[in-house]
């Protein structure tokens, strides 16, 4: 397992904290969040959130739409600093935003290379794009991409980097089943190879359970539920433990929890017992 390694302390290289918060600072963590608060106006979207991610850990973040997942990611990416609380993150981060956010004035391959150190070559971009099945669109302008293509370009852009923390905000949401599987596999492989910490926001419980070491559920501005996914890899959705975990998570997410280990086999996917009236 990848998550059981945490080593000695590294220097954090920042000024002393202004507002001390509980929790270890000098652990060998990849992410250390303590007492984080982020408000828009009166509404505290993130409210006293605590989170530690170990180096090399793959964490999935689930939660209702609008619960503050993207906001948390922006804070971790260092993009939103109107916060209270302590946040320690690696210097080297890569983000795939929820919206693709490609620079419209750069062709796709240039978008992929944007910000890379050195003088990366076009080939590097093409290779990355090919991995997400976009090699043929490398020279396109971003605004001519389809929704899924743009999302994949954005993913490729995040993945060519070599970060210590990879932040992925619903990176597979606009992909069809097959493309999604391939992209998931790609992320899993890269994570394995590089050993970076990953925080993946997703709405797909199975995706979370297939990929992550740990699944978090955000609610009320904090991590309301957390479960280790201690299944051996490669994981199999047909594994009863998988089914149990899924049921528990879906239950936590408010989808009617008929699903138990015993009901699993008749309740596929996230749609559980959804029935549409007619």
């Amino acid at each position: 397992m990848a998550t059981d390694v945490h080593g000695s302390v590294t220097d954090t290289d920042t000024e002393p904290e202004r507002r001390p918060y509980p929790g270890p600072v000098d652990s060998g963590a990849a992410v250390e969040v303590g007492g984080l608060v982020r408000s828009f106006g009166d509404r505290a979207v993130i409210d006293d959130l605590h989170l530690t991610i170990r180096p090399g850990e793959f964490v999935a973040l689930l939660g209702r739409s609008g619960c503050g997942k993207s906001t948390l990611l922006r804070v971790l990416a260092g993009l939103d600093r109107e916060i209270d609380g302590g946040v320690l993150v690696p210097r080297r981060k890569a983000v795939a935003f929820q919206a693709p956010r490609l620079m419209p004035w750069k062709r796709v391959w240039r978008n992929v290379l944007l910000g890379l150190p050195g003088r990366p070559e076009r080939d590097a971009a093409i290779r990355a794009l090919e991995e997400v099945g976009l090699g043929h669109r490398a020279d396109a302008w971003p605004k001519t991409l389809s929704g899924g293509e743009a999302q994949r370009a954005s993913l490729a852009r995040a993945l060519v980097r070599e970060p210590d923390l990879l932040l992925l905000d619903e990176p597979f949401g606009a992909l069809d089943a097959l493309t999604r599987i391939k992209a998931q596999r790609l992320v899993a492989e890269l994570w394995q190879e590089r050993g970076c910490a990953v925080l993946l926001v997703t709405h797909d419980v199975e995706e979370a359970l297939l990929l992550a070491d740990r699944a978090l559920v955000m609610e009320g501005g904090r991590i309301a539920y957390e479960t280790a996914v201690d299944l051996p890899r490669p994981r199999d959705v047909s594994d009863p433990r998988f089914g149990a975990l899924r049921a528990r998570l879906l239950d936590r997410l408010g989808v009617e929890g008929k699903e138990g280990p015993e009901a699993r086999e008749t309740e596929p996917g996230t749609h559980a017992d959804t029935s549409v009236a007619a």
Partner: protein, 314 residues
């Protein structure tokens, strides 16, 4: 947000020391990974170097915006005073702020400046109105339809480059020497500025939003009102900035024609009769008008463009 903010709490990834990266470089990455994961648990591994995300207070800007913006103009004023007092700027080059203030005081107390401002203000108001409407209508015509563009745009681009001083004789012939040519000059300046910016704004509206509007069943006019015009608004604001300044500047030419009052006249006359101090007073008035215009447009922008989370921030 500003680049300052954006970059400050977020040091650029310092990977430049590493070897040249291949796309999703596998070989080298794997080695590192093995070390880190403990396949060779050599040094026990360590987390990556962490950096603190330094919180900024949301209400850190206690000094109000307009106050901070006075810094530049005030600095200029102080510089002027210092240079004058120290004798670097001789009085015959540029009188000291004190002298200018005294002259301004005279001009105000004898009613010359207020009456000039009043007269000019009326002209400016009418000119702004006429020119503004013309400019926006032309911009709409040429921004919204291809045919309009073909007919109007090149023509306006052409006329816009004409120095209006040269046309004053023609104006006199066509419009006489009353208010008409003065207002025409102001209107022209205003119209061209608004045209240029509104047109650019219209042509910069996101086609996706126009599509969305169309698909929502907006009529032609609804599309203009709800999609195209709001989308062109940021540019229109720039146009307005220009227009406000231009309207007053046009006075300098407009009030050469049969005027015996007005800011432009005051300035022309002062120039005619070497009243350097009056000229400087006029310039200062113009500068203040510029600040007022800026303030107005900023206020408008704050009201009308609050939806716009741009690089502007706050």
């Amino acid at each position: 947000m500003t680049v300052d903010q954006a970059v400050a709490g977020h040091a650029p990834p310092d990977i430049s020391a590493g070897p040249v990266q291949s796309s999703l470089a596998k070989g080298e990455a794997r080695e590192r990974e093995e070390v880190r994961r403990g396949v060779t648990v050599a040094d026990g591994g360590g987390g990556p170097e962490l950096a603190r995300v330094v919180p900024v207070s949301g209400r850190r800007r206690s000094v109000p915006r307009w106050l901070r913006r006075t810094v530049g103009p005030l600095a200029l004023l102080v510089l002027w005073q210092v240079l004058s007092a120290s004798g670097v700027l001789e009085a015959d080059i540029l009188a000291s702020p004190g002298t200018i203030a005294a002259t301004a005081g005279d001009l105000v107390s004898d009613g010359a400046l207020p009456s000039a401002m009043l007269v000019s203000l009326q002209r400016v108001a009418v000119g702004l109105l006429l020119g503004g409407m013309t400019g926006v209508v032309l911009a709409l015509a040429s921004g919204l339809s291809r045919l309009g563009e073909d007919l109007i745009d090149a023509t306006v681009q052409m006329l816009r480059s004409i120095p209006w001083v040269g046309v004053i004789p023609l104006f006199i012939i066509w419009l006489g020497i009353g208010e008409a040519p003065k207002i025409a000059l102001i209107s022209l300046g205003v119209a061209f500025h608004l045209y240029l910016n509104v047109y650019a704004g219209i042509r910069g509206v996101d086609a996706q939003l126009v599509e969305a509007g169309t698909s929502l069943g907006l009529s032609r006019w609804g599309l203009i009102r709800h999609v195209v015009l709001p989308g062109a608004l940021p540019n229109a604001m720039t146009g307005l900035r220009y227009s406000l300044a231009t309207a007053w500047l046009a006075l300098v030419f407009g009030e050469q024609i049969n005027a015996d009052d007005g800011l432009g006249f005051l300035m022309n006359q002062a120039r005619e009769f070497f009243r350097t101090d009056v000229i400087v007073v006029c310039l200062v008035v113009y500068a203040i008008l510029g600040l007022i215009a800026d303030f107005l447009v900023r206020t408008l922008e704050r009201l009308l463009l609050q939806w716009r989370p741009t690089f502007t921030g706050q």
